[in-house]
């Protein structure tokens, strides 16, 4: 393939669009980690469920796909509440490995439940802009990718306002600094955990809806995005929202560039290579604080 300036610009724009989706997913994972000190390896499965729900709602009710995303966000937030209440809360504070085991159990349950309900064929959500693209001189880009960027920005701004300006946001920030002190200040920490987890899941569902509009997806879709989101928050620093945003963009662009220059099989491996090198040099991430 000829690599011209045009293809590089196109790859950059694609990278930004995909990076935005990962950014959303990573922000959800990050807020859960920041407040609860919990890494939910099943986070990508919420993306997958979100994508399926968006698809099912837009097909069954004939809704606009972008409005269906909102409904699916609400549903997945509810699912998040149930999952937090009955699984993670019970192992929180025990050995860290237990959280990984619980996540793994959830991955198996979600993936196979989705497989049983929705089948093994790949689906893609049909949005009002499907098939339309913006044509510039040397390249064209689908409207869905451009819209995705705006949706992500809107969601993140809303999320930022929630964290920064509301009382719940204040309580979440307090809990993330020290849950013991937060408890002493009269914050219901368990309730904050529940809200945080629901919020994180909803962000994953939003990412899922956008993912399902741009790519086709199936029950196994969740696994890779989880790992990628995790890579992003390690790049950006665990618990830092700004880091997740920068990391998401960098990752999206790096992945698309690797695909362009090295070929498809290397798209994820390059990202991991980068991640591993960073972790070897700085075991707690680029912006991570030194532990113990």
């Amino acid at each position: 393939m000829d690599i011209t300036a045009g293809t590089i610009v196109l790859t950059l724009i694609w990278g930004v669009a995909i990076g935005c989706i990962y950014m959303l997913l990573a922000t959800g994972l990050n807020i859960i980690f920041g407040v609860m000190k919990l890494v939910n390896f099943a986070h990508g499965q919420f993306l997958m469920i979100g994508a399926y729900l968006t698809w099912a709602i837009s097909v069954a009710a004939g809704l606009n796909a972008y409005i269906a995303i909102l409904v699916s966000m609400a549903l997945v937030a509810g699912l998040g509440v149930v999952i937090e209440r009955f699984t993670f809360r019970r192992v929180l504070g025990t050995e860290k490995l237990n959280e990984i085991f619980v996540s793994l159990g959830l991955i198996y349950i979600f993936e196979n439940a989705a497989l049983l309900i929705w089948g093994d064929q790949s689906q893609q959500i049909v949005s009002p802009f499907s098939g339309l693209s913006l044509n510039l001189q040397s390249f064209s880009i689908t409207y869905d990718r451009i819209v995705a960027v705006f949706v992500v920005v809107a969601v993140l701004v809303g999320f930022g306002l929630l964290i920064g300006k509301t009382k719940i946001g204040l309580a979440m920030r307090a809990t993330s600094q020290s849950n013991g002190t937060a408890k002493l200040m009269g914050i219901n920490v368990e309730k904050i955990y529940m809200i945080t987890f629901a919020l994180g899941s909803a962000l994953a569902a939003a990412a899922g809806g956008l993912y399902g509009i741009i790519f086709s997806f199936n029950a196994q879709t969740g696994a890779m995005p989880t790992i990628i989101a995790f890579a992003i928050i390690i790049l950006g620093g665990l618990g830092s929202i700004r880091g997740a945003i920068v990391g998401g963009l960098l990752y999206g662009i790096a992945e698309q560039m690797a695909t362009l220059f090295l070929g498809g099989i290397w798209s994820t491996a390059v990202a991991f290579a980068l991640l591993i090198i960073i972790l070897i040099i700085r075991p707690n991430g680029i912006f991570g604080e030194k532990g113990e």
Partner: protein, 362 residues
């Protein structure tokens, strides 16, 4: 003197006798159950037992890996490729079409597997060097990343590995009963060796690191060194399991590096009982049997007719249903009985014993 004395003590110890009994019982099973399906399931169980035990060994030193399939795969690929080259050389040398069967080929098979394990351990040393400073989920993600990279590398150097289309290794030991004996010899030895290491001074260091790394460092344990040693030993056995697995199913391709294979030993160990000797074995027995029973013809038919209509989108409900149930079991074990099935069996056994004693006093 102490070494020979230790060896003597070991040969006379109850543990060793138990080992011999275990081996004898396992070796005798196929004589009574001659069904080839059972032999297949049993062989698979004991291959996975080594794999799960190797993961458990690593977890005992406080390191949880999510990418053990790397070493399963490297062990498998290495022994299959080397075995292939050796068999070509031997056939060329002797001028026969097939491998002669005998003590020599058993020796070759065993050494090929050991070499596969050593190569895996060598790669394990390199990966371990990258991993010793990492904790909990950082380690999990990095080991997982290595399994993704291993798959990509194997595709990239396809002319050497033949990983994309896959290939069948040349068997030195005939399949069926002889191979089963080979597998259980490896299983019993591997589990015993790992047990002995855990009981030794080195094992004490591993457990101290698992308990609290900072404190272990404080009392003068070189934590990085011991974590690296644990990594190398674990990857050696994972490599051997990989070699056995590849020679057993007679096929190897890049899918051996899949996340499913990475999660398998973890799930087995957790269900069986993390940190115990019998845990991984119990988990391997449990998980492999559940998986294999669900693929038998009669169960397949029953499931398709009874549950199939409820899930019209899936061709066959068996595999997703199995994994769903495994997920539920894993969750239930972690939440309600974090020490696994092993502790449940122990409780049940203790309960029985106290019942009997209670009866005697009446």
């Amino acid at each position: 003197m102490p070494v020979t004395q230790q060896l003597y003590m070991f040969l006379r110890s109850k543990g060793f006798q138990l080992l011999v009994v275990c081996f004898a019982v396992l070796a005798l099973i196929p004589i009574f159950i001659t069904d080839s399906f059972f032999l297949f399931v049993f062989t698979l169980i004991f291959i996975f037992a080594i794999y799960a035990a190797s993961w458990n060994f690593l977890a005992n030193s406080g390191q949880g890996s999510l990418g053990h399939a790397v070493f399963l795969g490297i062990g498998g690929f290495a022994s299959a490729i080397i075995g292939g080259k050796i068999s070509i050389a031997i056939i060329g040398f002797l001028g026969v079409i097939q491998m002669p069967i005998g003590a020599l080929s058993v020796l070759i098979q065993v050494s090929v597997l050991l070499v596969g394990g050593l190569i895996s351990a060598g790669i394990g040393l390199l990966i371990g060097l990258a991993c010793v400073r990492l904790k909990a989920w950082y380690l999990a993600i990095v080991t997982f990343g290595f399994s993704v990279i291993a798959g990509s590398l194997s595709s990239q150097f396809d002319s050497f590995t033949n990983g994309i289309s896959g290939f069948a290794p040349t068997l030195f030991v005939p399949g069926g009963f002889p191979f089963y004996i080979l597998v259980i010899s490896f299983t019993v030895t591997s589990v015993a060796v790992m047990y002995l290491i855990m009981k030794s001074r080195m094992g004490l260091a591993f457990r101290a690191i698992h308990g609290n790394e900072a404190e272990a460092k404080m009392i003068g344990i070189n934590t990085a060194k011991y974590k690296l040693i644990a990594f190398v030993i674990s990857t050696f056995f994972a490599g051997i399991a990989g070699g056995l697995y590849v020679y057993f199913i007679r096929f190897v391709d890049n899918s051996i590096f899949s996340p499913t294979n990475s999660f398998l030993p973890l799930i087995m160990t957790v269900i069986g009982g993390l940190g115990t000797v019998s845990g991984p074995v119990i988990g391997a027995i449990f998980l492999t049997s559940v998986g294999q029973i669900l693929t038998t013809q009669s169960v397949r038919q029953y499931l398709s007719t009874s549950l199939g209509p409820f899930f019209p989108k899936v061709g066959y409900v068996g595999p997703p249903l199995t994994y769903l149930i495994i997920g539920v079991i894993l969750l239930a074990i972690v939440i309600f009985s974090p020490k696994g099935l092993e502790s449940l069996f122990r409780k049940f056994y203790n309960y029985l014993i106290t019942e009997e004693k209670g009866d005697k006093t009446k």
